[in-house]
């Protein structure tokens, strides 16, 4: 086995093995558990770094294992996959740090971190899947490994949220499976390829292909929280804050969005999907989701619920980008995959901090929190402004490319959708910012935990992660043109995805 073959497996193993060991560790072995977690997370980052360098240089990483005759579990690390892998690996490290701080002293931590690691392993598998079959395997594993995290608190409310989560995702998985087996039956394989593979079938199969597309998108759309399949996401906010981070930024909704990208680009191929008239309905669905999510977010008093609806809306930016025929839209969608993750995880970290430190769960309780927890609130503010798309933040970059992509694809209406959404974003985030910074505190905090050292506004493990991710939010906006930015990588992907199908990759960024 060559290095190019085992590297992808090592990426999986770097979270799988620590996870399995953690499962059987006695609850009290905190030191070893923490070490395992961090060693795994850092090892993964190192491995991902090696992969990034290799893929940028054009090396191909891949390995496959026959599961049934004609059916392979296959992995590859390509530019698109690495975008997702890098995002998850980086955020996993911060989420782990945050979770260690957040769960200090809580029961069942071995179980929690075990499933946590499995969850990330599943995400890595999704990112590196070289065919739809492998994608599905890890997609379902992700469902299963997140369920125990969602219900971790063991309360009736947690169970309700968990059950709804399962009902949606398992039903979605069933649709996805149907589509995949059907496709496999028609094509004999489901390997991802830059030009797509569905075009190999003749036009007489158009109806079947459209039905399969519907099934596949319904399957991944559940996790991507496309309206009307989004109902689980607001319910799942009962989970502990690190799990919300996982659901909204690191793994679950991202897996769905990533699935849409793979299916459109590498199963159907953009050209063929366009020829089958699949892109416009997808764009419309994404647009509806964007507006509806933002609209619902307006009316949520529960902070995490508001953030959850915001996710519903923001993740569909990715789907919209994918559905905009042309490389500029693609770049916008892909870069938002990263940007949304960075921004949303910051928001959830901060929400967790408010809840843990002050007992704040509702927007209406947040008056004056900025003065009590200035650092947390600064991070929150940066991320919220990013979500709105204020210039100099990562969000602005995404929206600029998406708008340009919509214009280039001749879908002027999508530009309006983006503007509407930005206005709604502002409408549900700015009141929060106003409350935390400018409204005076009149009442006592609902449930305040005084930190051990009073000059810290909260435990440093809880504070550090949001500050770092907030910094990223700014950096990715300010230095979008740097070759190390997510935008540069998204361009690389778009170039590779389109090189096979279209000649001209975009050279210059659109004007903002």
């Amino acid at each position: 086995m060559t290095a190019n073959e085992w590297l992808p497996l090592a990426v999986l193993a770097s979270s799988l093995l620590p996870g399995l060991i953690i499962f059987v560790l006695p609850e009290g072995w905190i030191g070893l558990r923490t070490t395992l977690n961090l060693v795994g997370a850092i090892a993964k980052l190192v491995l991902v770094g090696v992969l990034l360098a290799g893929v940028a240089a054009g090396t191909e990483y891949g390995v496959r294992l026959a599961v049934l005759p004609g059916l392979d579990l296959a992995f590859k690390a390509d530019a698109l996959g690495l975008l997702f892998i890098t995002l998850s690996a980086v955020l996993w490290l911060f989420t782990t740090l945050y979770a260690i701080g957040y769960l200090e002293g809580a029961p069942h931590r071995s179980r929690f971190f075990g499933f946590f690691s499995l969850c990330v392993t599943a995400t890595m598998g999704i990112a590196m899947a070289a065919n739809l079959f492998t994608f599905f395997v890890f997609y379902e594993l992700l469902t299963l490994s997140t369920f125990p995290l969602v219900v971790h608190r063991g309360t009736d409310k947690a169970m309700k949220g968990g059950t709804i989560y399962l009902a949606y995702t398992l039903a979605g998985g069933t649709a996805l499976l149907t589509g995949i087996v059907w496709l496999h039956h028609l094509l004999g394989h489901t390997e991802f390829a830059h030009t797509g593979i569905a075009a190999a079938l003749g036009p007489e199969q158009a109806i079947q292909l459209k039905t399969i597309f519907l099934l596949l998108i319904a399957g991944v759309g559940v996790k991507a929280a496309l309206v009307p399949l989004h109902g689980w996401l607001p319910q799942a906010m009962v989970a502990p804050a690190p799990v919300s981070a996982l659901l909204h930024a690191v793994a679950v909704v991202k897996a769905g969005a990533f699935g849409i990208v793979r299916i459109v680009y590498e199963i159907y191929g953009v050209e063929f999907a366009q020829a089958l008239d699949l892109l416009t309905p997808l764009a419309i669905l994404a647009a509806i989701t964007i507006v509806w999510g933002s609209f619902r977010a307006l009316f949520q008093d529960d902070l995490k619920k508001r953030l959850a609806y915001s996710t519903v809306s923001q993740v569909s930016y990715i789907a919209l980008g994918v559905a905009l025929f042309g490389p500029i839209g693609t770049i916008g969608g892909l870069v938002h995959l990263v940007h949304q993750g960075i921004m949303k995880i910051t928001l959830f970290f901060c929400a967790g901090n408010y809840a843990e430190t002050l007992g704040i769960h509702k927007v209406s309780e947040m008056d004056g929190a900025g003065r009590r927890m200035p650092l947390t609130t600064i991070a929150f503010t940066i991320a919220a402004l990013g979500m709105i798309g204020v210039p100099a933040t990562a969000g602005a970059v995404s929206k600029a490319w998406l708008s340009a992509g919509a214009a280039a694809a001749g879908m002027g209406w999508a530009v309006w959708v983006l503007w509407t959404s930005s206005l709604l974003n502002a409408a549900y985030f700015l009141p929060i910012l106003w409350r935390v910074w400018f409204r005076p505190r009149l009442l006592a905090w609902p449930d305040e935990h005084i930190p051990a050292r009073p000059w810290h506004e909260t435990a440093w493990l809880l504070l550090l992660p949001p500050l770092i991710t907030a910094t990223f939010t700014l950096a990715f906006g300010l230095f979008a043109d740097s070759p190390a930015s997510p935008l540069a990588w998204a361009k690389l992907i778009a170039e590779r995805e389109y090189r096979a199908q279209r000649s001209d990759a975009p050279a210059s960024p659109p004007h903002e």
Binding site: F147, M159, G162
Partner: protein, 471 residues
């Protein structure tokens, strides 16, 4: 090949001579040797690509009885030894010294396993009847052993079902013998044609019906939940994982062998019953009050999948789907019953509603239960998923969308009852809950079996290759 029959017969009878409660190490030693023999046989069959034949007495059919091992037999034998050995280790820890239920466990289990191995190797219809009786009576004995009224009633219910089943089968054999003068499968197969006399059609129907009763196919399933739901955990595991598969195997043998020219007309009947079994069994599992009864009804449902393959036979992937399902369910169900045994032992409660907090106290067991549940739900990467995949592909191959729908619906229903348990277990424990400590070995057996049912999903290709040998 003969070692797989002789060894368990020997250790079973010696365990009886040793006396009540004794024979554990004899059994574990014997089963280890058997496991080696089964792998060896699989390797030989797989390498040679043809069936191995052993004419008992040196006479050869039709005068004598032939033993035959092809890929299908080899797979089933592997299944038996791979499940029996861990279960023996489990049972060794489960039954305490002086436990009435365990007093004769070893000889009974030995005869059961001997009967199963003999059944999977036999190529003679009447000899198969004897092995069926050996398996059936040993299984009844295991259910009844040392039990109270409920267990005895369950055993009696089971006894009559299995006797009716073997009676119908025996009559079928008698008619076949009357028509052709032989009971050797190999000789009968070319003799039976689609213009066979009516007697042969009746015989085929009787044999299949009898075996369906023994496999607890809906609507003949009524004996199963009480038998599997009331027996001690290792017994339930043996019964659900292996015993019902034996009669299914025989149905498959007949269907693909001597009865092949007669079955095309009725191929939809087993599939229809199988579909009803999936729906009804799952529904009952969803409603069941006791944990073990839930698992037993899940067996009723999972057996239904086995019968969905009949309209797809012979065809690509269909047989593979059935056997993969049998294998996956065997491992997973054994794991699940063992896990349930651990939970009941630890909490002292049998009802699903009383499971709150179990996940906190018995994380490994619950994890095992979850893994086994994955296989039952057919979620990847488990072997149950591969079975589902193969089944759906085979159904698509023939354009049978109805079967696809049933398979998918069954998976979702399974999720409902599996998560019903997991959900309850994840709830916080009531303050007054007392949890006994259980030997870790019990937990590990459940985990290993469950993990095997999942990991087999990564090596399905080997199973399929072996299955193709000598078919």
């Amino acid at each position: 090949m003969t070692g797989l029959i002789l060894l368990p017969l020997a250790w079973a009878s010696l365990a009886f001579v040793l006396g009540p409660g004794r024979g554990k190490w004899l059994a574990i030693g014997g089963l280890s040797a058997q496991a080696w023999l089964a792998f060896d046989l699989a390797a030989k069959v797989g390498a040679g690509g043809t069936a191995l034949l052993h004419p008992v007495g040196g006479w050869g059919a039709p005068l004598g009885i032939d033993l035959a091992a092809d890929g299908l037999s080899a797979v089933m034998l592997l299944l038996v030894q791979c499940i029996a050995l861990p279960l023996a280790i489990h049972a060794g820890a489960y039954f305490k010294r002086g436990d009435a239920a365990g007093a004769y466990f070893w000889p009974l289990a030995g005869f059961l396993i001997a009967g199963l191995n003999a059944l999977f190797l036999s190529a003679d219809l009447f000899n198969l009847y004897v092995t069926l009786e050996l398996v059936g009576l040993a299984a009844v004995g295991l259910v009844a052993a040392g039990g109270g009224a409920q267990q005895v009633a369950a055993a009696l219910r089971y006894l009559f079902a299995t006797l009716v089943g073997s009676g119908l089968y025996l009559l079928g054999v008698a008619l076949i013998h009357g028509a052709y003068g032989t009971v050797s499968i190999a000789i009968l197969t070319p003799l039976v044609t689609s213009d066979a006399p009516r007697l042969v059609w009746i015989a085929g129907g009787l044999m299949l019906a009898g075996l369906m009763v023994k496999t607890a196919l809906f609507p003949f399933h009524t004996w199963l939940p009480s038998a599997h739901g009331n027996a001690p955990a290792p017994v339930s595991a043996l019964l659900s994982a292996l015993v019902v598969k034996a009669s299914f195997y025989l149905i498959l043998r007949l269907w693909l062998g001597p009865l092949a020219p007669l079955t095309s007309a009725i191929a939809w009947l087993p599939a229809l019953l199988g579909a009803l079994a999936i729906l009804w069994g799952s529904w009952q599992a969803i409603r069941a009050e006791r944990l073990k009864r839930l698992i037993a009804y899940s067996t009723v449902a999972q057996l239904g999948y086995l019968f969905l393959i009949f309209p797809l036979l012979p065809g690509t992937d269909a047989l593979e789907a059935g056997i993969m399902q049998a294998f996956a369910h065997g491992l997973a169900k054994a794991a699940m019953f063992v896990a349930a045994g651990v939970i009941i032992e630890a909490t002292g409660r049998e009802s699903v509603m009383d499971l709150s907090g179990a996940a906190g106290h018995l994380p490994l067991t619950l994890f095992a239960f979850g893994l086994a549940g994955m296989t039952l739900m057919g979620l990847p990467p488990s072997a149950g998923f591969l079975a589902k995949w193969l089944l759906i592909e085979a159904a698509l191959d023939r354009g049978h969308w109805g079967l696809v729908a049933v398979v998918l619906a069954g998976g979702l229903l399974a999720a409902v009852y599996v998560f019903r348990v997991l959900r309850q277990a994840f709830l916080l424990a009531p303050a007054d809950a007392v949890v006994k400590s259980v030997p870790r070995r019990l937990e590990w057996v459940a985990f290993l079996l469950a993990a095997a049912s999942v990991l087999l999903g990564l090596r399905g290709v080997d199973l399929v290759r072996l299955l193709g040998a000598g078919a």
